[in-house]
């Protein structure tokens, strides 16, 4: 097997706030292979967005990527690059599609200018060449009358159209990797499928890998070959998508699957898992999920579980891997007992 | 920012951590002390013409560290007593203009309707005349006015910004549920003002007071420099500069020292106001002080 396109190794991103150190990303490792679409799922606050920002080194103070973290991309450790080298990676080799197409575009520049800017920065195109490139990209993402649209401002476009513009902007340089952070969450349900389809279609043509960050397992099921499940700043389970849906191992993944709406739709809050994600300034000792877990026992409080290998390409951060018999005896999670009134 | 000690304690803590605030507070304390202790610190009577022949317009010397003015008065003594006049006018005018601003703003915001519209149009109009121009016109036309009336005049031209601020706060508070319920329980407008509007306006008002003192010191100095503010022989910092303005190049000490006194005090007040603004929620204040922040100070 060839070397992966992107490999995160023991990534730690901490935020130094007044109320303490928030360990938002706390030892995350995973890889994205060339041409592959990898899903990263988890509730909000699990660290998946910070992971995405860390890859492009877009974390702002008081956030900091800790020493010892490694982000290998195309054979280089991004964290050891100079700012100028890093700049040449952003938008060129790795592009980003953000969640909010309403605010991701600068309101006072035409969309044509904003797309052309990428070509001007990275390909050194002239104003005219870049403008032509922008129109070409707009056509590629299926925007009608691209010549006219290029001269319009973001507020003149619908949400779906704007997200197409954002995708066009991301694909100008045919990057090796696109990081899509909840690309459809802000859109109408009917538009969501179109946008995802467009993204999948274009990246397949260009051979681009996608890191698709979402809270929606339905989106993962339709788009990703593999999935990484994150909880409380850590990877808790990783598997091929069919494997995950058929044989979810971690109780948290079980909970997510249980909370999945049967037909379409999107669940903002995954209601069937009792309790909430603990604050990142104070992750619990031992297993971080134990207070919400129906199987938790003494070992879960005493010992922080490692990622157990439980099958081919399938890992899980749960002691059930070594004491599978415990699964036969579920109980009411602590969070459900204590927080019954609040929840 | 809600009322109660935790918030104000946190504010104090943040202020104490701010080196700007510490230095500014020390400087202001020194200036106030100099003003209060002027009778003991001043080597001479500030109004006494010591020796019109031999001590007229003398440069700084051991006996007169800051020199003497064209009337043979000791500049150091005048500077110390001048602090009383300048600071007194500033403190009085700011206290008064804050009170006026809070009251008028609260009335406008609380009453709403015609009263509000009328008052705020008036405020708009007043804000569109540069304050210094308005003051020059009034003070000059009224001629010889004393320190008290000068203070009153400055205050009367200074409440517009604060009133607009408090009016906004009052309007916002009026719509809130707890006030509606308080009203239905028969709370008087005055009580609602005291319990809800004032605490919410306190932070911005403090910032406004700090910047306001700086502003009034400058205004008074400017008027006195034009010869229409504090009347001779009363010493004010602006008036001392005016005494040397005729031969400004030769009598440089009459310009330099009072100017430095004004600059230091105003700088300290502005720094304190800045520190206060940062210690309170900065975003809230940027939005809340539209007239104080962007416009040049007059």
């Amino acid at each position: 097997m060839t070397a992966p396109l992107l490999e995160l190794h023991d990534l730690h991103t901490f935020f130094y706030t007044d109320t303490g150190v928030a360990r938002s990303v706390d030892g995350v490792s995973f890889r994205v292979n060339a041409g592959e679409t990898l899903g990263v799922v988890g509730e909000s606050g699990c660290g998946k967005s910070v992971t995405a920002l860390s890859i492009l080194r877009l974390v702002r103070p008081p956030g900091r990527i800790e020493a010892g973290s490694e982000i290998r991309f195309e054979g280089r450790d991004l964290l050891s690059l100079g700012e100028e080298e890093m700049r040449r990676v952003r938008g060129n080799r790795i592009a980003m599609v953000f969640q909010e197409p309403m605010t991701a575009l600068n309101p006072v520049f035409t969309i044509g200018d904003q797309i052309a800017e990428v070509a001007r920065i990275h390909a050194g195109m002239s104003r005219k060449e870049a403008a032509a490139k922008a129109v070409e990209m707009l056509r590629l993402v299926g925007i009608p009358a691209p010549e006219q649209r290029a001269d319009e401002y973001p507020h003149q476009l619908s949400g779906g159209m704007r997200q197409r513009v954002v995708i066009a902007m991301a694909l100008v340089m045919s990057p090796a990797l696109v990081i899509a952070d909840e690309p459809t969450t802000a859109l109408d349900v009917t538009i969501q499928a179109q946008i995802l389809e467009l993204l999948a279609d274009l990246t397949k043509r260009l051979g681009t890998s996608i890191l698709l960050i979402t809270h929606d397992l339905g989106v993962v099921a339709e788009n990703c070959a593999r999935v990484v499940v994150m909880y409380a700043g850590e990877v808790v389970e990783e598997a091929a998508t069919p494997d995950l849906f058929a044989r979810a191992h971690h109780p948290y993944t079980e909970g997510l699957l249980g909370a999945m709406p049967r037909v379409g739709g999107h669940a903002e809050r995954l209601a069937t898992i009792p309790g909430t994600v603990p604050p990142p300034t104070a992750w619990p000792d031992g297993c971080r999920f134990r207070e919400r877990c129906p199987y938790a026992w003494e070992r879960c409080a005493a010992e922080h579980p490692p990622l157990y290998q439980i099958g081919a390409g399938h890992t899980s951060r749960c002691h059930l891997a070594v004491e599978p018999e415990r699964r036969a005896h579920p109980h009411l999670p602590i969070a459900a007992q204590a927080g019954a009134g609040a929840a | 920012m809600s009322r109660g000690s935790p918030a104000s304690n946190a504010l104090l803590r943040r202020l104490r951590r701010d080196s700007r605030a510490r230095i500014a507070a020390i400087v202001l304390a020194l200036v106030v002390a100099a003003a209060l202790l002027a009778p003991w610190l001043a080597p001479f009577d500030p109004s006494a013409q010591l020796d019109i022949v031999r001590l007229q317009s003398r440069p700084p010397s051991l006996a007169h560290p800051l020199g003497t003015d064209p009337f043979s008065r000791d500049v150091l003594s005048r500077l110390l007593y001048g602090a009383r006049v300048s600071l007194g006018i500033a403190a009085g005018a700011v206290a008064l203009q804050l009170t006026l601003g809070v009251m008028i703003g609260a009335v406008a915001g609380y009453a709403g309707g015609m009263t509000d519209a009328l008052l705020m149009r008036l405020v708009d109009a007043a804000l569109s005349i540069p304050r210094i121009l308005l003051l020059i016109v009034i003070v000059a036309l009224w001629g010889d006015i004393g320190v008290v009336r000068l203070t009153l005049l400055i205050a009367v031209t200074g409440w517009f910004g604060v009133s607009r601020l408090v009016r906004g706060e009052a309007r916002a508070v009026r719509e809130r549920d707890f006030v509606l319920s308080a009203r239905s329980l028969g709370a008087t407008p005055w009580r609602i003002l005291r319990r809800h509007v004032l605490p919410n306006s306190l932070g911005p008002a403090m910032v406004s007071a700090s910047l306001g003192i700086a502003n009034v010191i400058l205004l008074e100095a400017g008027l006195s420099f034009l010869g229409i503010g504090v009347r001779p022989p009363a010493p004010s910092w602006g008036a001392i500069i005016q005494d040397g303005a005729e031969r400004v190049s030769e009598l440089w000490w009459l310009t330099l020292f009072p100017g430095l006194a004004i600059l230091t005090t105003v700088f300290a007040c502005n720094a304190l106001g800045d520190a206060l603004r940062d210690a309170l929620d900065p975003r809230q204040l940027e939005a809340a002080l539209p007239d104080e922040t962007p416009l040049p100070r007059r």
Binding site: N106, F109 | D124, P130, A214, P294
Partner: protein, 323 residues
Amino acid sequence: MRRYLAGRLLQAVSVILLVTTLTFVLVHLAPGDPFGEAFGRPNVPASVRAQWRADFGLDKPLPVQYVRWLANAARGELGFSFSHRRPVRAVLAEALPRTALLAGLSLLASFSLGIVVGVLQAERLGGARDRWLGRVLLFTYSLPDFWLALVVLILFAYRIPIFPVGGIVDPVLYDYLSPGARIADRLRHLVLPVVTLTLLSTAAIARYQRNALLEVLPSDWMRSAIAKGLDWRTAVRRHALRNALLPTITLAGLYLATLAAGAVFVEKVFSWPGMGLVTVNAIAARDYPLITAAVLVMSVLVVLGALLADVAASVADPRVRVG
């Protein structure tokens, strides 16, 4: 857009009306009058004084005087200046361009400087450069304007006499100078007042620009710009500044007139015969028509400036322009 303009225009007119009424009342309520015994020529008998008052309409009741003055003002007829012994319009027509020149140049300089400083601060927010520039700005903001003018005058006109002590042109030599030298002479006279005014007003602008940038820096589109591969400096200067300039444009309108009024001290110290000096002298002479007209002109400028700024800002904003 049209409705907004109409509303804004109406508001401007009502403010001007209020301001002028206020000034008129203030001026006429003040003790002393231009033909009182305190003001020159004590030998003129009382009957002649009364005749003069009648000639200028000062014997009429205040409301009558006001209505007549307003009607005249609406026609651009501002009355006759007692102290200059010529029409007020002529006096102001001479003073206004001089102040406009002074204020306009300072406006240009202080906005260029202020925007640059604001951007320099915002680029290194919270860093040493930001903090030190902030302190320098607070210092210049705290300078008394007349004092700074005096210090500049002492230093660069007396101690190191490289610039003239005041006036618009050299009173003696100007008439004998060649056209080129005349321009140079005028420029030399402009330097100190313009530099002083610029120093005084830059701080507020820089601070405003920094705050405006502060507002937009956390925007998602700034993150997009960096994610695209822009460096931080270019992102600030291109993307953030374009957004944060709109409020500063509004400020420019407010400033022009405020600068004109704020120039009173600078004009006085540098003997620059503009609106400020004319007004101060008119007050000393109890020249009612001139005072009222000067205040009227300045407040019209303030209101017009604000109006223009609002319109300019809304035209410059694509969200408003097209929407």
